[in-house]
């Protein structure tokens, strides 16, 4: 029998803001609402005042077509918008302008797919539709959502262009969901229509069912980091219910990011009834072949093409190219470094090993760190100039990442400059020999012990000794002892 884990089916409904647009979807209010005073980027259209009329942003349609093409979708020849009616203060009109695939409506695009890779296997994730809609306003709850005494509303975000991307329930684990979202983000960022580093620019709802059970919808997953967490929680919750013999209810749950649990929101309310009908205030949109061709011609380089180019242009192995192009910021960072210092292999090695490991272990993204291409290159130059050893570089890299300090300064401040002074190293080696007499005797016949002594010298200098000189000095000293012994025995 299939285990509960194997039976997991996850579908995602992803909302990404088209952050490169200057204005909202249906009015010319600025769309860069972050950090702005509440309700200052609004007009009669996005406040839903009577008599106002929406007019569609052409660039939004263009961007949406770009995304649909990159997601291998069929683009509709004609699309219309619908009103999705619901009474909730995040939209002042009491309806959201969106698209609908029933009642004769066609969303912007349908039937796409994306391949995801996980540990060597490739899997097709079907995309059922891609459409345009407006973002609701921002609700500020006083305290946790289910304990808030009242709600404050900021309509600056109301009307910002959103792309909704819906998958079939083809994802089999929370991890696959995360991989899918990362891949999606990477594509949208390469298209130049989306910046995932902006807070709340990608949000998603997930539906999940296990062991043939009922589908539960989880809303309010506000970043792609949270997706895996929310889904993992939900699997544990549902498994717990099944084990106790309780049936999983079909319901909508809310992901509480702070308490890291899902909470039931609409238990009493029946199934949603949005009473969709066509939005008569907007004229139908015909998407001509020539418009699609025009968009195609402007499509920037996509991740897959970039991986190929990295392999050809920089002579990187496929794996390295794939890791570096796994996010646009990482790939851009790499290419910035190359511009400053044409050593692709070196730069790739530092990024792939120490830099990425640090970011991963500390769960931060490149843009959240303080390191810049210039700083990484400066650090590599210090090694090349013989100022520091590779070992010291590994030590100072975390500090560069965290503080953004100049590598040269860190080295100076901490006195980490490589010790090249042979007299000094000779004296220190004498100390090492005095303290490790057994190892010295072993070293006369055993190379391993020589390495041990070199290690001790490096340790004594806190890694600052030039490894080549340290190696030379220790070996010379051992050789001298050997000769002395020989003479004594002769």
């Amino acid at each position: 029998m299939e285990s509960i884990e194997e039976s997991v089916k996850i579908g995602l409904e992803v909302h990404t803001q088209l952050t490169s647009l200057k204005t909202k979807l249906f009015c010319n209010c600025p769309s860069d609402y972050r950090g702005r005073e509440p309700n200052t980027l609004v007009c009669p259209v996005c406040l839903g005042l009577p008599g106002s009329l929406p007019v569609l942003n052409k660039k939004a349609v263009k961007y949406a077509i770009m995304a649909a093409l990159a997601l291998n979708c069929q683009i509709s020849e004609e699309m219309i918008f619908f009103r999705k009616n619901y009474y909730y203060p995040d939209l002042p009109k009491n309806f959201q302008i969106t698209q609908y695939d029933r009642a004769g409506g066609a969303p912007l695009a349908v039937n796409g797919y994306l391949y995801i890779e996980d540990q060597g296997y490739r899997k097709k994730i079907r995309i059922s539709r891609v459409h345009l809609e407006e973002d609701p306003g921002r609700l500020v709850h006083v305290g946790p959502i289910d304990q808030s005494p009242y709600t404050l509303v900021d309509y600056n975000r109301s009307g910002v262009a959103l792309l909704e991307i819906v998958t079939e329930p083809d994802l089999k684990s929370p991890k696959e969901a995360r991989i899918f979202l990362q891949k999606l983000r990477n594509i949208l960022e390469h298209l130049g229509i989306f910046d995932g580093s902006l807070e709340g620019s990608m949000r998603c709802d997930a539906n999940i069912s296990l062991a043939g059970g009922t589908r539960v919808e989880i809303k309010n997953i506000t970043s792609f980091k949270e997706v895996e967490r929310a889904l993992n929680f939900e699997i544990i919750r549902q498994k717990g219910l099944v084990e106790k013999g309780i049936t999983v209810k079909r319901e909508t749950r809310h992901w509480d990011e702070i308490r890291r649990i899902t909470v039931s929101l609409r238990t009493k309310e029946e199934e949603q009834d949005y009473r969709y009908f066509p939005e008569m205030d907007l004229a139908p949109i015909l998407i001509s072949k020539s418009f699609i061709e025009e968009v195609k011609a402007e499509m920037p380089e996509l991740p897959e093409e970039r991986i190929e180019r990295f392999m050809k242009m920089y002579g990187l192995p496929k794996y390295d190219a794939e890791v570096l192009v796994s996010s646009k910021s990482l790939a851009d960072f790499f290419e910035e470094c190359i511009k400053l210092h044409d050593k692709p292999k070196e730069i790739s090695n530092w990024m792939m090993s120490d830099l990425l490991r640090y970011l991963y272990e500390n769960n931060i993204e490149l843009y959240e760190s303080k390191i810049t291409p210039q700083k990484l290159v400066d650090m590599i130059r210090l090694i090349e100039e013989g100022v520091i050893s590779g070992k010291i570089a590994k030590k100072i890299l975390p500090e560069i990442i965290v503080s953004g300090k100049e590598p040269r300064e860190i080295v100076k401040e901490k006195g980490l400059i490589k010790i090249m002074d042979e007299d000094l190293l000779n004296k220190l080696a004498d100390e090492v020999f005095a303290e490790n007499q057994k190892a010295v005797r072993d070293a006369l016949i055993d190379d391993k012990a020589i390495h041990y002594l070199i290690g001790q010298l490096m340790r004594l200098t806190k890694g600052k000794a030039d490894p080549n000189i340290a190696n030379k000095i220790i070996r010379e000293k051992i050789q001298k002892i050997r000769e002395k012994e020989l003479r004594k025995n002769a």
Partner: protein
């Protein structure tokens, strides 16, 4: 004038009126529910008349005017002055609209 019951088969019953009221977040008295049930049914009667026309060969019309592709360019325009935005808000707090607790 009262039509025979067989002709006036009900399109909508009271429970549906209650459901619609719930979706619209309004409360109705028992009398109002009766009145609206009756009125909704009368409205739907008009639609039945329209239904008599065979429209199977006619594509649906989504817009009353014969226009398509009405676009605007992505250029920033004027927003409402800050003071004006909250002028008609029944409740506000600082620069926010204030709404009842939402769950």
């Amino acid at each position: 004038m009262k039509a025979p019951e067989t002709m006036r088969e009900k399109w909508i019953i009271k429970e549906e009126v209650e459901r619609i009221a719930q979706l619209a977040h309004i409360e109705l008295t028992e009398e109002e529910k009766e009145v609206f049930t009756e009125q909704f049914n009368r409205i739907l009667e008009f639609f039945r008349k329209i239904d008599e026309v065979d429209t199977r060969s006619i594509p649906p019309m989504y817009h009353v005017l014969d226009i398509v592709n009405v676009y605007r360019e992505d250029e920033v325009g004027e927003t409402l002055p800050k003071e004006g935005v909250l002028e008609n808000a029944p409740k506000k707090e600082e620069q926010f609209f204030k709404s009842p607790k939402i769950v």
